[in-house]
Subunit: 145 residues, 2 copies
């Protein structure tokens, strides 16, 4: 017998896109005044949380493909939010570090960002919110299930 595709309304890829759309709306709204994008924000967040690291690690932790990171790092460098330095031991490698100006971008908006997160927790309820994160984690190819 022939297998049937799920209706698009119950399609996992589409549901993921739409949910992401909903989640990003207030975040993009918050970022609009800064002139930085959602991905640039993510890179700064990771650098702020973990400190200086090489580009490959940064790409992984930011969930960005390497070519994207190359461009984003260049943009952030031009804006003065990160610095790039070559590793003397291994000249292929590059270290990226957040600057004070970059850190300020994060700090000035940490409260508002936390409020946005709080809003989503309120929408779903704390328990469902955690359940959702767990279920999403199971689909993450990087997190050995």
């Amino acid at each position: 017998m022939t297998k049937t595709l799920p209706t698009t309304s119950r399609s996992l890829p589409i549901a993921l896109i739409r949910a992401r759309e909903g989640v990003m709306l207030p975040i993009r709204d918050m970022l609009s005044e800064t002139g930085i994008t959602e991905q640039q924000w993510r890179v700064l967040r990771v650098l702020s949380e973990f400190g200086q690291m090489d580009a490959k690690t940064l790409a992984d932790r930011s969930s960005l493909l390497f070519p994207s990171l190359t461009r984003i790092a260049a943009t952030l460098r031009d804006k003065g939010f990160v610095t790039q330095t070559r590793d003397d031991k291994d000249k292929r490698r590059q270290f990226i570090k957040i600057t004070a100006a970059g850190q300020k971008i994060i700090d000035d908006r940490a409260d508002r960002a936390a409020e946005i997160v709080k809003g989503f927790k309120a929408t779903l309820g704390d328990e469902k919110y955690e359940t959702l994160l767990d279920l999403l984690g199971m689909l993450d190819p990087g997190a050995q299930k």
Copy 2:
């Protein structure tokens, strides 16, 4: 007191990205041989499910922004997978319809696509799979919560 941002590993936007990455991996793999992209596949899926419709409705149902749809429709038309016709009653409007060649793209891969879906249900378990879709639906800005 100062609010704290969640660690990036428990960030909802990042979790959504990574989950989507995991879900799309086998799908992109399936589509690689067709020369059509994931979004083009989505448009064909919607047209196949609902039949001919105007561009605005198609964009909504495909979860695509209008400018993206304009380009994608042009690409699919050039490939012979859809036809575009103006509405005589309202010359602003445009109807888009899947062709036999376009339908064949879907039909030839429906089984494999269904297998992929089955794989994710198996990963999560049927119950958690449905729970996930419900939770994602709650974040969908288009679905009045």
